[in-house]
């Protein structure tokens, strides 16, 4: 097997796994901070119990997010040394700022929060979890500065000898339009992930007649509002992001829609089975004009097709194949949007229950609220698969192809890569199992155990 395929597989595997934990860290840190603030403001012990309960689940999840994040930071140099040499001048900067400015406060204040319950005044202790939440959020921000550069490069020039890209405008990176679509989308995704977990666990406890009824009703109330706000934001931000992609990466949009030819007005695919080699439909149901509406908020306007873009890119970047895996882009987009739509309904249902103060569920509704906890994970994962796979063949759009970024086989051989990939698969599987076991144990044990 060639090293490119193996390095890509390893990156995909370790980053998807890492991102199982990150959205929950983002969302649950803020959620825990809100609960502790309620405790400080009201003095009501119920909020302290809830803070400890959700805080414990937060910590079990946080640990895996941190350690798998270290792997990500090292992997650029290990498997993508040519990429690191070419864009380190630019991409390295936000990643370094992330460690100094965000990851550091997160890691230091998490220790202060866990060990400081009886050592710090209440308000200062609550402030420390807010600082952890701020650290997580900033951490996501800086990593997305790097990623949005890879999606849509700005503020750079190519060095005179062509050996590397160099930053010329740091603020252009910070105000990259892609970043300001991507960051709210990812952050809201974190809120949704935590919100649905809170809804699932709280309704499960209420459904089986817990003794801690009052606390879990409050928890459900907070969770339902949180999930609803998050879902609204994630949909709006996602919509804005898709519109932005039409200018930055129209090929990704075309692939996600299996839109072979440019259309005006463009149709939206409900269900397509395509012929990826022949670049044509085998079977397709499309809504006329709908894609133009999503793209431009009006039922007309041209959306470029795959074949047209391929021709344009071949002229612009030289001969080559500029079409990503269409089946991957198409279905990851549908999984993300499908899960998002379901989440909208479920969060409305949960909100309705909470407004009515009706905390008894039929078995059907109980099961729905519980199993919906999987939806954010489906959406998060497929969203990133679309973002990264839809950008191919580029590792940095328009600047560097993925195949040019990999470490030479003379430095890291395919057998070394097979070994490391196998190691990660085995360890991560064990880690996932162990983490799940602990999350389940503490989530089902209820509030008293977390104390």
């Amino acid at each position: 097997m060639d090293t490119l395929f193996l390095a890509r597989s390893q990156f995909a595997f370790t980053s998807i796994f890492h991102f199982f934990f990150i959205p929950l860290t983002l969302g649950l840190s803020i959620f825990t901070a809100i609960l502790e603030t309620a405790y400080v403001k009201t003095g009501n012990e119920k909020y302290k119990h809830l803070t400890k309960f959700w805080g414990t689940l937060f910590l079990i999840n946080f640990a895996v997010g941190v350690v798998t994040g270290i792997v990500m930071e090292f992997q650029f140099g290990m498997n993508w040394s040519a990429y690191s040499r070419f864009v380190g001048d630019i991409v390295g900067v936000p990643l370094a700022i992330e460690t100094l400015f965000a990851f550091f406060i997160e890691s230091t204040f998490i220790g202060i929060w866990v060990f400081g319950w009886n050592k710090l005044p209440k308000a200062l202790h609550a402030a420390s979890i807010w600082i952890v939440a701020l650290g997580s959020t900033l951490s996501a921000f800086w990593i997305l500065v790097a990623n949005s550069f890879m999606q849509s490069p700005v503020g750079y020039k190519i060095a005179a000898n062509g050996s590397q890209a160099e930053m010329v405008d740091f603020f252009a990176l910070l105000f990259n339009p892609s970043l300001w679509k991507q960051f709210p989308h990812v952050l809201a995704g974190g809120v949704v992930t935590a919100g649905f977990l809170v809804i699932a666990v709280s309704s499960w406890h209420l459904g089986r007649g817990t003794k801690e009824r009052n606390a879990f009703e409050t928890s459900l109330k907070f969770g339902a509002i949180y999930a609803f706000i998050g879902t609204m934001l994630v949909v709006l931000a996602g919509h804005a992001q898709m519109q932005n992609l039409l200018t930055t990466q129209p090929m990704k949009v075309a692939a996600a829609e299996a839109l072979w030819e440019s259309e005006n007005p463009a149709s939206f695919s409900l269900f397509t089975i395509g012929d990826e080699k022949g670049l044509k439909d085998v079977f397709s149901i499309r809504v006329p004009g709908m894609l133009s509406f999503l793209a431009y908020n009006t039922f007309e306007g041209e959306v470029k097709g795959i074949k047209n873009l391929q021709k344009e890119y071949a002229v612009q970047y030289g001969p080559g194949n500029y079409i990503p895996s269409i089946v991957t882009a198409y279905w990851s987009f549908r999984f993300m949007v499908g899960a998002g739509t379901l989440m909208l309904f479920v969060s409305l249902l949960a909100l309705y229950k909470v407004i009515k103060e009706n905390y008894t569920f039929s078995p059907m509704v109980g099961a729905l609220l519980f199993w919906s906890l999987l939806l954010p994970w489906i959406a998060n994962t497929s969203g990133w698969i679309l973002a990264e796979m839809g950008r191919q063949p580029w590792i940095v759009f328009g600047l560097l192809k993925t195949e040019k970024g990999v470490t030479p086989a003379s430095v890291v051989s395919s057998s070394e890569l097979i070994f490391s990939l196998a190691v990660f698969v085995v360890i991560y599987a064990a880690l996932a199992g162990t983490d799940f076991f602990l999350l389940k144990k503490y989530a089902s044990a209820g509030i008293e155990t977390a104390e």
Binding site: I60, F62, A63, V64, V66, V67, I70, V71, E73, F74, F76, G77, M78, N79, S81, A82, S84, R85, G88, D89, I90, V91, G92, V93, L95, A96, I97, E98, T99, L100, F101, F103, F104, I105, S107, T108, F109, G111, V114, F115, G116, A159, E166, M167, V168, F170, T407, P408, S410, V411, V412, E416, F419, S420, V423, I427, L431, L438, K441, Y442
Partner: protein, 337 residues
């Protein structure tokens, strides 16, 4: 002073903080299974570093991040060239990181014992590997004209580097034992003190052997000259003085001295390397230096501003966290881990 030199100093500072701070929590992790068989006592040992280890490890992560930003070619060559070694270190850090969090969250004896040994392995492996890595920075690795190190793992495991690995392992263990003597009480404190006294002689002996081997294996002494300056001398004197402090039960002073020894020997190594960051064993001209591996001046400028603001702030709030948790941890303390 140019920005490349400034960043060479800052990266040295990040490594010094990493070795000094994570050094003691590696040491505590290594000693964990040998401090006590009793669960409550083991938890006490873990809780001495409970609030700190994650923040301490950040010095390594930020050193990696800073290398990526300011010396991307150093980052790329080092991380790809030391591939299998880094995989091993990542595995160790993976186990160690979750072990602290998971260990006491389940009652089973086998579970806790598994995570205790994970903490041990997760601390011992990086303590060894960092010594091996540093020795190879100085000794040189086969970097070719296109900055690729094709030496592989076996080339890194030469006797000189292994000697340095065992030395760093012992120094960190000694540093950790003294930290435990400072942070525990009663039986645990006695145990830590006696371990520290036993560890001092082999650690110091290996240090001396390592320094002698450095004469033939590297060009460090050639570069430092007849008069090496005060830094290396202080580093050796500090290590020698540790045993006298330990005999007088002055754990605080002993800890200050291991700190000085670790910090000053790290400085010595960086002075010996300057302006190189990774020596090529094939051709001196192919060595990576702070100049041929650096980012553009613009990126260096941005990073300098960021570092000048945030490194002092980090040291202040980390210092504050050490102050908040300054008390000794006893078996009767409320234990979070």
């Amino acid at each position: 002073m140019d920005l490349q030199t400034l960043w060479f100093i800052l990266i040295a500072l990040l490594f010094i903080n990493f070795f000094v701070l994570e050094g003691f929590d590696f040491g505590v992790g290594i000693l964990l299974p040998f401090m006590s068989g009793d669960d409550r006592e083991r938890r006490t040992v873990i809780n001495t570093i409970g609030p700190f280890w994650d923040g301490n490890e950040m010095w390594l992560i930020s050193a990696g991040g800073a290398m990526f930003a300011v010396f991307p070619k150093w980052y790329a060559t080092l991380f790809s060239g030391f591939y299998l070694m880094l995989i091993l270190m990542l595995v160790a850090l993976l186990f160690r990181g979750v072990a602290f969090e998971f260990r006491s969250k389940h009652e089973s004896q086998a579970w806790r014992s598994f995570w205790d040994w994970s903490i041990f392995g997760g601390s011992a492996v990086p303590a060894l590997l960092w010594g091996i890595a540093i020795a190879n920075f100085m000794r040189g690795v086969p970097i070719d004209s296109s900055m690729n190190d094709t030496g592989g793992l076996l080339n890194l495991l030469n006797p000189y580097a292994l000697l340095c690995g065992v030395t760093s392992f012992l120094i960190f263990t000694l540093h950790g034992a003294i930290f435990l003597a400072l942070k525990t009480s009663a039986a645990l404190k006695e145990k830590a003190m006696s371990l520290a006294r036993k560890l001092w002689a082999p650690a110091t002996l290996l240090c001396i052997i390592f320094m002698v081997c450095t004469v033939t294996e590297t060009d460090l002494y050639l570069r430092l000259g007849i008069n090496p300056g005060t830094v290396p001398v202080f580093s050796v004197l500090a290590l020698f003085s540790v045993i006298f402090m330990l005999k007088k039960n002055a754990a605080g002073w002993a800890f200050a001295m291991t700190t000085v020894a670790i910090a000053f020997s790290t400085i010595t190594i960086f002075i010996g390397l300057y302006p190189r960051v990774l020596v090529s064993s094939l051709n001196q001209a192919w060595s990576l230096t702070i100049y041929n591996s650096s980012s553009s001046l613009y990126s260096l400028g941005i990073m300098s501003i960021v570092a000048m603001i945030f490194i002092p702030i980090i040291m202040i709030y980390q210092g504050w966290s050490f102050w908040v948790f300054r008390q000794r941890v006893t078996v009767d303390s409320e234990l979070e881990y």
